[in-house]
Subunit: 336 residues, 2 copies
Amino acid sequence: MPELRRDPAKGKWVIIAVERSSRPSDFKLEVEEPAGPEKCPFDGGKEDQTPPEITAIRPEGSNLNTPGWTVRVVPNKFPALKIEGEIESRGNGVYDAMNGVGAHEIIIETPDHFAAFETLKLDHASKIIWMFRERYLDLRKDQRLKYILIFKNKGRRAGASLEHSHSQLIATPIMPDLVKIELEAALTYYRYRGRCVYCDIISQEINEGKRLIFENDDFIAITPYASIVPFEIQIMPKQHSSDFGDIRLAEMNSLTKALQSSLKMLAKAVPHVSYNFYLHTSPLENLTIPHYHWHIEIVPRLTHIAGFEWGSGLYINPVPPENAAKFLLEAKEVQE
Amino acid sequence: MPELRRDPAKGKWVIIAVERSSRPSDFKLEVEEPAGPEKCPFDGGKEDQTPPEITAIRPEGSNLNTPGWTVRVVPNKFPALKIEGEIESRGNGVYDAMNGVGAHEIIIETPDHFAAFETLKLDHASKIIWMFRERYLDLRKDQRLKYILIFKNKGRRAGASLEHSHSQLIATPIMPDLVKIELEAALTYYRYRGRCVYCDIISQEINEGKRLIFENDDFIAITPYASIVPFEIQIMPKQHSSDFGDIRLAEMNSLTKALQSSLKMLAKAVPHVSYNFYLHTSPLENLTIPHYHWHIEIVPRLTHIAGFEWGSGLYINPVPPENAAKFLLEAKEVQE
């Protein structure tokens, strides 16, 4: 069972994943190539190589764990947190610990080993987003959980160990630091100005236009004013909404277009780029709130995180987001 | 001039370093080897290849910017923040900006291209730490500055672009996020328990012993209970002290021994490891405080920061710190 531990001097939790690795010699000093198709357990036809499926979009009447599916969800074989057990919290002198209860699922986005999310047909890609929502709505019934983070690692510099297109979901029994910090900053703004800070950002960005890279009826994508890395992108619903679970089915295609279009521009501007994206939404204990606004952040992995960033939390970004927006929009024009 | 920008939705500042790089094609997708001795501007005898020296430990009567020095400090050629100018803060709709005033210095630790900090003679290594203190005490007279971070990048995975042994110092006109978070957590603990949380940690770690990897009269080194990465190490003075500037000359050798010994164990346990270290001390506006305790954190760069960590701030560490301590101590025994 993994263990959650808290350092009182940082107020920060960590997951100690005892079952994942152990000896110093297990650490490869080189970044390895992700495993190719021969060793890939996510391909269609290899359903027996993953843990039994949780759910899938598959033809009516077809059996679980058989081919024919479009999107398939399975538990992570080496979960960071485990679904079984009760939450037990305990002290250890100045320290706190908790057993590692939670969920860790893989959303296999396609049976095709070589397909990429950004170039899937809209209808297919939209089903992936729909599956994010399904898993999110299902897991949040679990009273032990405090937060659900949906994320994607693409490319080896982004930490992907398998190249087959997939996303992940980790549900945690604590509120993650970074989401807590966002919630607090947004609440401070709301108390002072009486409006959602994200709504104000959206209105300013649409007005100014110089960091806006995509807009449709329901969503915008921008390169944020204080982007901490080059070509960072943020996607937000234009209407105020704190809870991703509230997304209407009619908006699913709009969101998919915003995400696919942003990722296509990025891949065109910086070929073979590795990236992470993740979805920030309200905490499970307080889903509908006036000060928070769900969004997706896309983080290209182009620069190093060195000692200064690691020790201060202050990042040095060599590409002003106004320039990033220009480069991304140029890439879009080339594309079309 | 670099610009500092603040995102109101995260409450987070970033340094936009316009002069450092610009086009998408400037980003190398592969981690490059640091430049070798041919292109190294830090070697003894190449003093004209760096910006003019700020200070150096050199034979009495020898001229600035000539060979013969032991430790030499120069401004960074591509500074993240610049020393000239007044701080001007301004709003931009919902956003805030400030011009990038600060300091960015390089501490060249030795004229020898192939020497490493961990294996320098104690007397020499101790002079480097003494220089950290000198630069810290000198810069903190500058009323524009809020914080001074001393740090080191060793190895390409830690973001070092030059292999010649050196450390850096960046002084900022704002308080860095991570230090603010530590200060707040420490203050919360102090208000509740009336003691410095670090002092309590030190006493518990010496008592329990299972995460203690080094101890002398003045310092201890531990693998922290909630280490966020494998083989993380923290060095702390045993006596309460919030301000690194207060370190006594008599303690300089003790600290150097703690740091060299920790880094030697790490390099022996994980050969060719890349690492960062940085020194956390009290804010310049409030140097002597009962709730904070200066310390050095050593962060080996062995694991990936993937989407989950990036989006949540919650890390998954596959090596329990008790095991890390055991491996490090075994490496120490082999060494001796």
